[in-house]
Amino acid sequence: MSLGAFLALISLTLLRGLGIPGTPFGPLSFGLPMILAFFIALLLTGLAAIIIDRILYLRLRRTGPIVLLVASIGVSFFLRNIIQFIWGPQPQYYFKAIQIARKIPLLGIRIKPDEVFIIIVAALLVIGLHFFLQKTKTGKAMRAASDNMELARVSGIDTEKVIMWTWAIGASLAAAGGILAGIEDKFITPDMGWQMLLPIFAAVILGGIGNPYGAMAGGMIIGLSGEISTAFISTAYKPAVAFVIIVIMLLIKPRGLFGTR
């Protein structure tokens, strides 16, 4: 996620360098370079994930899940510190313009144009993922492989390729998350991924592991409850809210709200 956000920053810088006009679109605080950078970053992050999979996880695939988990913690430290090495720990900015929230006449809420953009992109990604998993051949193969790896193999599905796709898509989505968070907060830091880790776990547990729609719903619930909690307790504890939700969830319904397994 952090990687994606920073790759977007590189791309953004590069594209600005290439002289692509950075005039903001209408009310948004960014223009074409940001959009292009978004896609390039997604692509590059996906690619990076595939490379890491080929170098590392491929060889560890036969070992237990714990080894994989340790390895992935190692990878996260590795990536985070590469970013930190290049940019340092201080926040980096995509752009510095400050935007003023506008009131939406009918709903009576104030919202920034950038936030509207984020909501639309997030919705598009969700719809896109749904479409991909339900309608495309690779998406279906992915669900098939998650159901039954061996049967997928005897059906002639190249499961290695499916795993690669899974990595690429997972990483790209994480990158998208990072970039959107960067647009919302105006800055990105190397440990933004780490900060989000707990809420993400919480969302997945809440939705039931192995259920993408549950995870989306879980994400909404965790996100909202984190924000709502700030009305009652100090903002500093926003991440802790996710943890409390995990604990409550484990106590009452360990398989998650929509869990099937």
């Binding site: 590392l56 913690i73 590795f78 590469i82 930190q84 090495f85 707990l198 592991i209 991440p239």
Partner: protein
């Protein structure tokens, strides 16, 4: 000669820190190496140990402090016991909650509790004095030893500078001895228990819970025992750290120092092997501390060097996982030592 003493003094300092890490590794080894419990929130137990000990044996809050509790100035041993108990209690509740479920949940719960503890330490001024931390934590027997050293030096003014330099460091030697004694004790306890029928059940659970269950073992209870014991050892390490560093704040218990390094140490040294845990701690801390000099050579800023070091350690971890997954010292055939030959 003076440089030599300087190096020696540095080595003592190095060995104390490595020894504290070795204690943490032994704790993790009980949980993961023996029982297969995946704790990625070591930092949480470490921090609870450190703060508990500091609040029990430390000074009362100063005039400029936010902190309003603690500072009972109890003897160091009480602080140490308090640290052990506090970490154990927290582990008990986490274990109660998650050890019946799939292993991923323990991982998530431990990382969660570690983060929550860190947030509390950062934000709850009445308890932790926030980012200003807790200062002036007394080291055990510090006064008498220092007094002894200074009166000895006063009595022998003719000593050569390097000898004075050496003797002034006596307290660190003492603390090193203390850490090593505790480490040795833990090593003995941990070796003895893994080679006992108790340890055999733990390893059975790690290998196959179903077999443990058909043999009438209460899998949950044994997992809980292992998890709590491991956490208590981590709490002990926290206390050792607090009383040595004399100052603690939340930044000492970040995931990097508090959890990640310890995992690398255990994996590199050899999970399931107490000797491996200790070797891993000294070795990895050696590499870690050794790379400190890079700053001078590479003419890079301190933060960049820090990142570079983490990158190197991360690569090292992946290499160990790929090339020698059992670690430098693999697990030994631990046939019960309780039956003689």
């Amino acid at each position: 000669m003076d440089t030599l003493v300087g190096i020696l003094n540095y080595l003592v300092f190095f060995a104390i820190t490595a020894g504290i890490y070795a204690v943490l590794c032994l704790g993790l080894n009980i949980q993961f190496g023996y029982t297969g419990l995946f704790n990625i929130g070591i930092a949480g137990f470490y921090a609870v140990g450190a703060y508990t000990s500091a609040l029990l044996s430390g000074p009362p809050p100063g005039p400029l402090d936010w902190r309003t509790v603690g500072g009972f100035q109890l003897p160091w041993v009480v602080g140490l016991l308090g640290a052990i108990i506090a970490s154990g209690i927290i582990a008990f509740f986490i274990g109660l909650l998650t050890l019946r479920l799939k292993e991923d949940y323990l991982a998530i719960a431990t990382i969660g509790i570690a983060e929550v503890i860190r947030l509390i330490l950062k934000n709850e001024g009445w308890l932790s004095n926030t980012v200003w931390g807790i200062k002036h934590i007394p080291s055990p027997l510090h006064q008498p030893i220092e007094a002894g050293v200074s009166s000895f030096l006063k009595g022998h003014p003719q000593l050569s500078p390097w000898l004075i330099h050496f003797i002034s460091n006596a307290y660190n030697w003492f603390y090193l001895a203390l850490v090593l004694v505790i480490l040795g004790l833990l090593y003995w306890v941990s070796e003895r228990s893994i080679r006992s029928p108790w340890g055999r059940v733990l390893r059975t659970i790690r290998e196959d819970e179903a077999i443990a269950a058909v043999s009438g073992k209460n899998v949950f209870s044994f997992k809980l025992q292992s998890f709590v014991l491991g956490a208590m050892v981590m709490g002990m390490a926290g206390s050792l750290y607090a009383h040595y560093a004399k100052f603690i704040d939340a930044s000492s218990f970040e995931p990097l120092y508090g959890t990640f390094l310890i995992w690398v140490m255990l994996i590199a040294g050899g999970s399931g092997n107490s000797k491996g845990a200790i070797l891993g701690a000294f070795l990895i801390w050696g590499i870690w501390a050794g790379t400190d000099f890079l700053t001078g050579y590479l003419a890079l800023s301190a933060t960049r060097v820090a990142s570079l070091r983490v990158i190197a350690i991360a690569i090292l971890l992946e290499l160990v996982l790929l090339l020698r997954p059992q670690g430098l010292l693999g697990e030994e055939k631990a046939v019960s030592k309780m039956m003689g030959k």
